[in-house]
């Protein structure tokens, strides 16, 4: 079965838009990290779909590199979230942005 390229790209766009919207409007850092993950996976889906369409493995190889980057990003992001919570007792990014360095 061949991957329907148009549907795959549309799904990728929808996922990416959801991710962007989440990053822009959500104030909770956990949600923001999750949305970034969604955006990465949307990009990964586009890579894989394009790879299948062109009969090349470059896109899939690329996605293999994206996966550890995403994992590392989540690890650091969650560590930052943890530190922010320890320091400010909140996960609200707007509150953190407004707070001056103590």
């Amino acid at each position: 079965m061949t991957l329907p390229i148009n549907e795959a790209l549309i799904l990728s766009c929808i996922l990416f838009s959801i991710g962007v919207l989440g990053v822009v409007v959500r104030r909770n850092i956990i949600y923001v990290l999750m949305c970034i993950e969604i955006m990465m996976n949307a990009a990964g889906l586009a890579f894989v779909a394009a790879s299948a369409r062109h009969g090349s493995l470059d896109g899939q190889a690329f996605f293999l590199f994206v996966l550890p980057v995403a994992a590392a990003e989540v690890a650091i992001g969650l560590a930052i979230a943890l530190l922010i919570f320890q320091r400010y007792k909140t996960l609200d990014l707007w509150v953190v942005a407004r707070t001056k360095e103590a």
Partner: protein, 660 residues
């Protein structure tokens, strides 16, 4: 150091009082109050001895002048002002008065200011004033002279406002300073014109004759030489009028009486106010080259003389009478300058310094003895109680009135009157007004004598007897107020007028020669002014003698700075004269109010237009600022959104580009 090539150094003359002032100001807080007076008196007396030394060397050695160059002070293109000193006979006359009469007034102040809270400050400024005045009269060029000119103005300001705790004193000081500053602006313009046309050194002034004959001078927009001379001269005349309290800038002097009485004697009678006379005498070549200029000087002089005499006639405050009389007498000096009798104007300055300083100090003694009473209608009958002061005051008043043959004032004033009648710049009309003024001068002088010293005391005031330092300077000045006149006896006496003869060396061919040579006419003029003086004294006796009922005591108090003080007389004309022809009110209504309206309009323009421009710029910047902070608010989501829109925009542009 003290002698150059066997000639005495000139710089010591101003340096000694300057040193005194320096010591007093530096150590003021660490010295007893009385020590300041001793330092000031020693400094000025050393300076006076040095003046005598230099002066006798000049006169006995038959020199024309001494010049002493020290260093270049201002050197910029045509503006070459060096710190140099110049000493000729005119300088000798002025330094003799500044240091000599100044010394007597310093001694007098030592007693007069005893116990005053600001004694050290007073003597510091007194010495500083003497230093500045000596710089003014010994400077070799007009720029250096200007240094002294401003210095005396500043010291005058400080000393008028000596009792600064009373606000009207500071107002009077500010008024004096501002009005003289107004004249100084014109003086500066005149100095700049002089610097570019002929140079500021006094030895370069004969170059004005070349300016007078040239019809084109480059750089002056097509103005001819004579026109430039007229402009420069008018500027100098206004500058001199400001400093010497001449019409139209005379309004500050009566209010300057707010200062201590010795200040009035030194600054506002004997020395500083005659700086204008000195200025015009120094630039006599410039003035003599333009008949219109000479006429302007003479008219200013005679108008001021008349103005001062009429106002002095009705004053009730003893110091204001003397202040108006000073204005009037300096008017005579200007009249002398205006008719080309330069040496006689200086001579009148010389005699006037003695008798006016004497009158002020005697008035000070009276005020002091009566515990600061200044209204003459509260005095009376002091002849017996203050006998010495009375005799000294009588000598001064007689000299002021010009009582014939025995007083200095008679010889100096009559010589000016005679030149007004007889020289080419004189005129019979001006002579007539000057004679009328002489009559009024005699009347108000003897009004003072009769009201203050004769009759019976109008108020029961305990008289506190003056000590020796308050009376001996008066006797010395009284001596000079009588004998100084013999330096210049009229030629009709069959003797050589020593003063005029010696000063001919300085003023040379510019000195006006009498066109009338008839001795009979000169005798008539001489006797005429003598009769006027005696007649004035007689009229004063008729009007104010104690045999008559004493003058009704004027209602209200003395006039102060503003014109809103109660009018002391019933007659309108008397109040008009009392307020100095209501000149203060006139200036308030025209210049002060005009200035306020103009500045209000300018403030409005500034607020609406100038501020408007800057507020618009500010609004634009604020707009950009709001735009920038929209992106830079520290929220990650906002940055992400901006990145998103940026990425979308870039991709859109790339896509559109690839379509083509």
């Amino acid at each position: 150091m003290f002698y150059n090539n066997g000639l005495p150094a000139l710089w010591l003359i101003p340096a000694l009082p300057a040193l005194g002032a320096l010591i007093i100001f530096i150590f003021a807080s660490r010295m007893p109050a009385r020590a300041a007076g001793i330092i000031a008196c020693s400094a000025i007396s050393l300076s006076f001895l040095w003046v005598l030394n230099v002066g006798t060397t000049l006169v006995l050695g038959n020199h024309h002048h001494f010049v002493e160059h020290h260093w270049n002070w201002i050197a910029a293109g045509p503006f070459q002002g060096s710190a140099s000193f110049y000493f000729d006979l005119v300088t000798f006359a002025f330094t003799f008065v500044v240091a000599g009469v100044g010394l007597l007034i310093h001694l007098y102040s030592y007693s007069y200011m005893k116990g005053d809270a600001g004694e050290r400050r007073y003597f510091g400024y007194f010495n500083l004033f003497a230093a500045a005045m000596l710089v003014l009269v010994t400077a070799e060029n007009a720029f250096f002279m200007f240094l002294g000119w401003e210095g005396v103005g500043a010291c005058s300001f400080f000393l008028i406002g000596h009792w600064y705790q009373k606000s009207e004193n500071t107002v009077a000081a500010t008024k004096a300073f501002l009005v003289t500053r107004l004249g100084d602006i014109f003086l500066l313009i005149g100095l700049f014109l002089t610097a570019t046309l002929v140079g500021v050194s006094f030895s370069q002034q004969s170059a004005w004759t070349q300016v007078a004959t040239s019809s084109f001078i480059p750089g002056f927009g097509g103005l001819t030489g004579p026109q430039l001379i007229l402009i420069t001269g008018i500027c100098f005349l206004l500058g001199a009028a400001g400093k010497s309290a001449q019409v139209p800038l005379q309004v500050w002097l009566p209010d300057a009486m707010a200062g201590p009485t010795p200040v009035s004697a030194l600054i506002h009678a004997a020395t500083m106010v005659t700086a204008g006379v000195y200025l015009i005498a120094r630039f006599h070549i410039l003035f003599a080259l333009s008949p219109n200029l000479m006429l302007a000087v003479a008219i200013v002089g005679v108008l001021t003389a008349f103005y001062g005499a009429t106002s002095a006639f009705v004053q009730t405050d003893i110091k204001r009478i003397l202040a108006y009389s000073t204005i009037s007498q300096i008017g005579y000096m200007f009249l002398g300058l205006g008719v080309g009798a330069w040496s006689l104007a200086v001579f009148h300055f010389f005699t006037h310094a003695f008798y006016k300083a004497l009158l002020f100090m005697a008035a000070g003694t009276v005020i002091h003895s009566l515990h600061n009473e200044q209204n003459i209608y509260n005095m009376g009958g002091l002849r017996t109680k203050l006998k010495g002061t009375y005799l000294a005051f009588l000598a001064g008043a007689a000299s002021l009135a010009g009582i014939p043959f025995i007083t200095a004032g008679f010889y100096s004033k009559d010589a000016i009157l005679w030149n007004t009648l007889s020289t080419k710049w004189g005129s019979p009309v001006i002579y007539g007004i000057a004679m009328l003024t002489a009559l009024m001068t005699a009347i108000y002088s003897f009004r003072l004598i009769f009201v203050v010293f004769h009759g019976t005391p109008r108020k029961d005031i305990h008289v506190h007897l003056p000590d020796r330092l308050l009376t001996w300077p008066l006797y010395i000045l009284a001596f000079f107020a009588i004998v100084a006149g013999f330096l210049n006896l009229p030629i009709v006496f069959g003797v050589t007028p020593i003063w005029e003869h010696s000063f001919a060396r300085v003023f040379g061919e510019w000195q006006a020669e009498p066109l009338i040579h008839s001795h009979a006419v000169e005798w008539m003029a001489l006797l005429g002014s003598g009769v006027l003086a005696l007649g004035g004294a007689g009229i004063a006796w008729l009007l104010y003698s104690p045999a008559k009922a004493p003058m009704p005591e004027p209602a209200g108090d003395i006039a102060t700075v503003e014109n809103n003080t109660p009018a002391p007389y019933k007659a309108v004309w008397a109040n008009f004269l009392f307020h100095g022809w209501k000149m203060d009110g006139f200036y308030n209504k025209t210049f002060v109010r005009g200035f306020r309206i103009t500045s209000g309009v300018i403030a409005w323009i500034d607020r609406v237009f100038v501020d408007g421009i800057f507020e618009a710029i500010q609004a634009i910047v604020r707009g950009f600022h709001a735009l920038v902070i929209f992106f830079q608010n520290g929220r990650v989501s906002r940055y992400a959104m901006v990145m998103l829109f940026g990425a979308v925009a870039i991709i859109t542009i790339l896509l559109i580009g690839s379509q083509r």
